[in-house]
């Protein structure tokens, strides 16, 4: 069943939408959840929650790309669960590695008290991603949305790991510049 057909099931409030979503995107969303949580059971729960949240939000939401929409839900649910489980403990996992790398984009004198509207920050990141060259954008999204390892990004794009590392280093520099320009950090 195509993405559009599944979406139409949601819009028609047909519960078959959930089963079809699981068939089409279950493994996909599970991979995202597992990368964050590293626990099969918790990942499965997040995926189940994804269908529930999708069912509650479509409509009124009408996603352009259902798979991407579901993966965003899974990612957010998994991150929430991750935060809850790791409030005091950070492990050397994919989330921690990605967050460490993004630390480079934050001013050294920034403090946790410097909070900003998350939606404003999201818009900045979205504009930043939109303006990146296509290959660089895919690298960035694979690395920081899907949390691919450098090797996986390189394999996905058919390029060397060194190229990914160098490109990502420069991308983070660009993001740092944007954040300075937008005065997101002091």
């Amino acid at each position: 069943m195509s993405e559009q057909e599944i979406l139409e099931l949601y819009l028609a409030r047909n519960e078959e939408a959930v089963r079809r979503s699981e068939e089409a995107y279950g493994a996909y969303c599970h991979t995202i959840a597992y990368r964050i949580l590293r626990d099969e059971g918790e990942a499965a729960e997040c995926v189940n929650d994804t269908w529930f949240q999708a069912w509650r939000s479509i409509p009124p939401a009408i996603p352009q790309h259902l798979g991407a929409y579901l993966s965003k839900i899974t990612r957010n649910l998994s991150l929430n669960r991750y935060r809850h489980a790791h409030q005091k403990k950070r492990e050397a996992d994919r989330v921690a590695v990605c967050i460490d790398e993004l630390q480079e984009c934050i001013a050294s004198d920034a403090t946790p008290e410097m909070t900003y509207e998350q939606t404003f920050l999201g818009q900045i990141i979205n504009d930043f991603v939109r303006d990146l060259p296509r290959e660089e954008r895919i690298m960035f999204v694979r690395r920081y949305f899907y949390m691919d390892s450098v090797a996986e990004v390189a394999a996905h794009l058919g390029c060397s790991e060194s190229k990914v590392k160098t490109t990502m280093f420069r991308t983070r520099k660009k993001l740092q510049e944007i954040l300075i320009r937008e005065e997101v950090y002091a």
């Binding site: 996909y28 993004l102 920050l121």
Partner: protein, 296 residues
């Protein structure tokens, strides 16, 4: 703002970009919990990293006298390769080093002129020794850092790689880059150019007949700096800034880094922080043809 907020914001990007990068997501799921530890010190990979290049000679456009002398050098062909002869990789805790050490190799060809081929070999040997010394030092410092932190409380990430910038009939330029990701990160680039006609490694001064190039290039760079800053408020160079007088760009070094593009254009290069705030990264300036251009 915290990096966690930034990471969360990435999750808010438009579905278009999520979908664009979606297929195929890596599968099957592989447990990733274990801390990896691998160390391959001194492994000689000897894998070809850049294209073999047939070296064909052409003429410089420097002073008439130099150009005249070079015109008499016969055309020759020699093969130059860049291979990775040492691949140093370490991952311990939050320390990471990925250092790929390139080596320029000259492969003899029957039709090549012996004198030029010998000179080419000397140039390659000098570049290789210079790169090896540099990377040895980086590795030694990294290992010293590891030794001084037995409980792995700190973090560091060092990457060294290379790229063939020019591979034309006239010139061969190799760039070796070193990125240390610590805090905001720091990048340094090193360029090596060989004149395939003479077999010699070329310095910036070699491209010009006299020292006048220092002022000429410096003036051109200042012009471009001003032009860029006027056009884009986000660009900043240290130029005529009373607050950082000691940092203001005055003139290039006699042996300033450079490379020559495949189109025969001279690019003058500066490392991060040399002439601009570090957020600008490594910067380079394209010299117009009336200052220098490679001739066919």
């Amino acid at each position: 703002m915290t990096p966690e907020q930034l990471f969360q914001a990435v999750g808010e990007i438009d579905e278009t970009w999520v979908a664009e990068a979606a297929d195929p997501i890596a599968a099957p799921v592989i447990p990733i919990g274990e801390k990896r530890r691998k160390k391959h010190l001194g492994r000689i990979a000897a894998c070809v990293a850049a294209a073999a290049a047939a070296i064909v000679i052409a003429l410089p456009n420097l002073s008439p006298s130099v150009a005249y002398a070079w015109e008499k050098v016969p055309v020759l062909r020699t093969i130059v390769k860049v291979v990775v002869w040492r691949d140093y990789q370490v991952e311990e805790g939050r320390y990471e080093a990925d250092i790929s050490v390139p080596q320029v190799k000259v492969e003899p060809q029957d039709q090549a002129d012996d004198t030029v081929r010998e000179q080419l070999q000397q140039s390659a040997d000098h570049i290789n020794a210079t790169v090896e010394q540099m990377t040895d030092q980086i590795i030694a410092e990294f290992e010293e850092t590891l030794r001084s932190d037995p409980h792995m409380q700190g973090a560091d990430s060092i990457h060294v790689g290379h790229e063939v910038m020019t591979d034309t009939d006239r010139y061969f330029s190799l760039k070796v880059w070193n990125i240390e990701v610590l805090g905001s990160g720091y990048e340094q680039d090193y360029y090596y150019t060989i004149d395939r006609k003479t077999g010699k490694e070329v310095s910036l001064a070699d491209l010009f007949a006299d020292d006048g190039y220092i002022q000429t290039i410096s003036d051109e760079i200042k012009r471009q700096m001003r032009q860029q800053m006027d056009a884009d408020e986000n660009k900043q160079y240290w130029l005529d800034d009373p607050e950082v007088e000691e940092w203001n760009f005055d003139r290039i070094a006699a042996d300033q880094s450079f490379y020559i593009t495949d189109r025969g254009t001279l690019m003058v290069c500066f490392n991060e922080g040399d002439v601009a705030p570090t957020y600008m990264g490594c910067v380079s300036f394209e010299m117009p043809d009336d200052i220098w251009t490679a001739e066919d």
